[in-house]
Amino acid sequence: MSVTTHPGDVVMDYDEALSKFDPVLGLEVHVELGTDTKMFCACPTTFGAEPNSQVCPECLGLPGALPVVNAKGVESAIRIGLALGCEIAEWCRFARKNYFYPDMPKNFQTSQYDEPIAYGGRLDVELGDGAIYRVEIERAHMEEDTGKSLHVGGSTGRIHGAEYSLVDYNRAGIPLIEIVTKPMVGAGERAPEVAKAYVSALRDLLKALGVSDVKMEQGSMRCDANVSLRAKAGDDPRGAQQLAVPLGTRTETKNVNSLRSVERAVRYEIARHAAVLAAGGSVLQETRHWHEDTGVTTSGRVKSDAEDYRYFPEPDLVPVAPTRETVEALRATLPEPPTKRRQRLQRDWGYSDLEMRDVVNAGAVELIEETIAAGASPTAARKWWLGEPSRRANAEGQDIVTYAALLGLTPVDIAELDQMVVARRLNDSMARQVLDGVLDGEGRPTEVADARGLELVEDAGALEAAVDEVIEANPGIAAKIRDGKVAAVGALIGQVMKAMKGQADAGKARELILARLT
């Protein structure tokens, strides 16, 4: 069965596609390093600064300017390589990748070609059900980012049809590490899930290394997804029969800038390729653009052998040759590996396996860790993050970290909320209302509680009066309790809470009722 989702593109039902084809992925992740200065000059790297305010002769490509390597950038690259289990080159060079583009000041990108700083690593990725998929890493190399073009006029915001374009060179020269996987085979129908889990795991790892702020929504971590299909052979995607089938033609989908998009884009391309192949066509080797809003990819540049970057070693830079002592010293700075760290946190927090998996799947490990550090109990931190914020993030198609960042909801907020519950200023349902207020942008938890007038009534007299009134108004229920049917107390508590307009401590109400009737 084929479904048309976009003019020109036919996709196959996913399950049907997987019954006929075996997907193979290759992911290229670009990470902007969080160094204070650019890769080849001393310009600052602050995000969001006034356009073209963080530039100099070098990153503007002025005649005569020369690059100087950022030592911190090289250090970060080595640490990333080590954390991915890579070999670190004893000697490697930068190379020039030559092509013309207005946002590239020198019309070549200083990158690495056949001599990457790190190569041959792996990352074990945990899937939703706890299964582990090992991603083999081809290489991690250093390069510089380009400037950013803004196409003004026209309807699409793309260069085609624009009246004019503006270029901001603040981003030009920001250090990038490109991490390239080997072909990811054997994932079968779980390929999109593996892709997402890999990018997520990589994000956690880079964050733990402290080398980047890894904000996909700001573009400091970007993913290009290569997808190809080959005929299905046998029932085991890892079986010898399947592995013997040659790889199909790949497409490279760019602009995949959220975890959810990684999964969706891969899934879409699998379904699109399948439709093309099933109809007897052949997949065009090309760049595809992912559209977050419509959930489809569209054709970009056709990639062919004609694209020739004329790489050659960058003669303006000297080779990078980290000594083994340097490498070992950097290895000693590596943080605990994420899987080990998770086991430790689960122990520390006292979560069950299921609880921990929920937290990991929600992508909330770091949020919860910071919330606990800010003073909340592990149980409360999990409860609040996996509640409304998580539900809303899912509904918006966002991951929790991105969503919370967009709304400005911080671990400190959750800890503050929890503190108010612990201090008996709020009860559970009031706390939920406060959280809603925070998510709706009404302010910090204390401000929301103040503004909405949410406060447990501490006036014992008012509560006792309410209890007395409710007992008097419900003689039948009161009698049952007196006769030993303590479970009936719930009905009275509900009425007391109602009388108190919710602003009472239900536990205390229960105590008072039982004290009077038993």
Binding site: P63, V68, R96, P102, F108, D316
Partner: protein, 504 residues
């Protein structure tokens, strides 16, 4: 010191300035008058900054008057090759592409000249982006050789060599990728030095071929060149390929000039066919003089020099094709919007600009380099050329195990006539045959005048080559030979150059 300040050496000017017998304003004014009188005929300058030069001269005179400690060359004017960016002063590299561009920053070399208090008279002509051996590839017209205005002053640094030989500056800067300092020096009877690669910062020097380019001093005497070398050189953190080591003692070597016991090697491969008889004769006489001065001479062989020209014409254009990519009309310099194209794209503007902005030699080299780096050809061309480069470096290493310096004629011919080789690029390229090996290996080399060729009465040059970081040996040999030659001639050779008509 002669009465004519423009005929005085930079070292003598420095002494006169130091002891207060002359002022920098007087010296600078004398040079500006000379420029006004003769540069119409020579066309050595692309831009003259009289105001800027005089402002510096006044400041230096004032500082000297109040007893400030000043650099040895403070107040001595200089001409700067137009390939070095100068803040606030136009820098064109001899190309239409940069016509009207005012750089917002100074090259490190220029900063050093300014810090030393040297008035910058102006920017000198050059082949476009330093591509050529004659200045005929300057978009602004050729410079002329003061020895014969119908002949080339060498290239690419023909502007600097012609202003020195016509007494329009006491010192000048140059850059040398395959001989652009040394060949102009040879054909104008001036001194030019290509230091060890990495000895002088390349920051702010518009790149032709990054792994070959090296800036160096140009002057009328060996000591003057040494004094300027000491100002220009030294480690620069802004240039990753800059050598972080103390400067070779070039000035001391130039002052001493003692070659007794020094072993000098004659490069067998840089002689014979293609070398003009008059050039060979002056070279042989110079070697004989060095022997008289106490040097030992031996012949050495550098068998791989044969492949130097071919390797050079792959590496240089390859790097140039990439270095020149930045000239795309997007941020600075020329912008040409193609006619008869409705709503041209950025790519179409780039193409139209590069078509209009680059001259034929620049285009030729961009195409050559683009081809040589192409996928499928890289190994055969760029890769093989790099291997030849290693072999040439090995030849030098082997030679320097036997001798302390090497010598050869600088260029195979004297200055040719303007237009003679313009239609034959290969003939033009062959003029660099003796100078290219030093660039490929990164070793330092100097050209100084060896006399005039009998057949045409035009200057001949001798080249001295030394091991990397031993630049002082060039000055040792150069100073000794210069002294002996002047004794033979009875006066500096430039005194034999024809007088230029004033106001021509």
């Amino acid at each position: 010191m002669t009465d004519d300040l423009t005929r005085t050496t930079a070292a003598q000017l420095a002494d006169g300035l130091a002891d207060g017998t002359i002022s920098s304003v007087e010296v600078t004014s004398a040079y500006l008058e000379r420029i006004a009188a003769v540069d119409g005929a020579v066309h050595g300058y692309l831009h003259i900054d009289g105001e800027g030069a005089l402002a510096t001269a006044r400041r230096i005179d004032e500082r000297r008057a109040v007893g400030d400690r000043l650099h040895a060359l403070a107040g001595v004017p200089i001409a700067v090759k137009d390939v070095m960016v100068t803040q606030g002063v136009p820098t064109t590299c001899g190309s239409r592409m940069l016509e009207g561009w005012i750089p917002p920053y100074d090259a490190t070399v220029v900063s050093k000249l300014r810090a030393a208090g040297m008035p910058i008279l102006g920017k000198t002509n050059m082949d476009e982006f330093a591509m050529g051996s004659s200045t005929e590839h300057s978009a602004y017209g050729p410079s002329r050789n003061p020895w014969d205005l119908e002949r080339i002053p060498g290239g690419s640094g023909g502007g600097s060599s012609s202003v020195l030989a016509s007494f329009q500056a006491p010192l000048a800067t140059g850059t040398d990728t395959g001989g652009s300092i040394r060949q102009p020096a040879a054909v104008t009877a001036t001194i030019g030095v290509k230091p060890t690669y990495g000895g002088v910062s390349r920051y702010g020097i518009v790149a032709l071929a990054s792994s070959l380019d090296q800036a160096g001093p140009c002057g009328r005497t060996v000591l003057d060149a040494a004094l300027l070398h000491a100002v220009m050189g030294g480690h620069d953190p802004l240039d990753s390929t800059s050598i972080d080591a103390p400067m070779p003692p070039v000035v001391d070597a130039a002052r001493a000039g003692d070659v007794r016991g020094l072993r000098i090697g004659i490069v067998k491969e840089l002689a014979g066919e293609g070398y003009q008889p008059g050039i060979q004769a002056r070279f042989d006489e110079s070697v004989a003089l060095l022997v008289e001065l106490g040097a030992e001479v031996a012949e050495v062989s550098c068998p791989n020099f044969e492949y130097a020209l071919a390797a050079y014409y792959l590496i240089m254009p390859s790097e140039a094709s990439s270095n020149l990519a930045r000239f795309d009309a997007m941020r600075y310099g020329l912008r040409v919007v193609p006619e008869r194209v409705a709503d041209p794209s950025a790519e179409q503007v780039m193409a139209a600009t590069r078509d209009a902005g680059f001259g034929p030699e620049a285009k030729r080299r961009i195409i050559l380099g683009t081809y040589a780096l192409s996928s499928g050809y890289y190994d055969a061309y760029y890769g093989s050329a790099q291997k030849v480069r290693s072999l040439i470096a090995r030849d030098f290493a082997a030679a320097f195990e036997q001798v302390d310096v090497l010598v050869s004629p600088t260029a195979p011919t004297t200055a040719f006539r303007l237009g003679d080789k313009l239609d034959d690029p290969m003939a033009m390229y062959r003029n660099d045959i003796a100078t290219i090996p030093a660039n490929l290996a990164g070793v330092p080399a100097m050209s100084l005048p060896s006399g005039l060729a009998d057949e045409d009465g035009l200057p001949a040059g001798i080249q001295i080559l030394a091991p990397a970081m031993r630049d002082e040996r060039l000055y040792t040999v150069g100073a000794a030979l210069e002294r002996a030659l002047i004794d033979t001639w009875g006066a500096p050779i430039l005194s034999r150059a024809p007088e230029l008509a004033k106001g021509a």
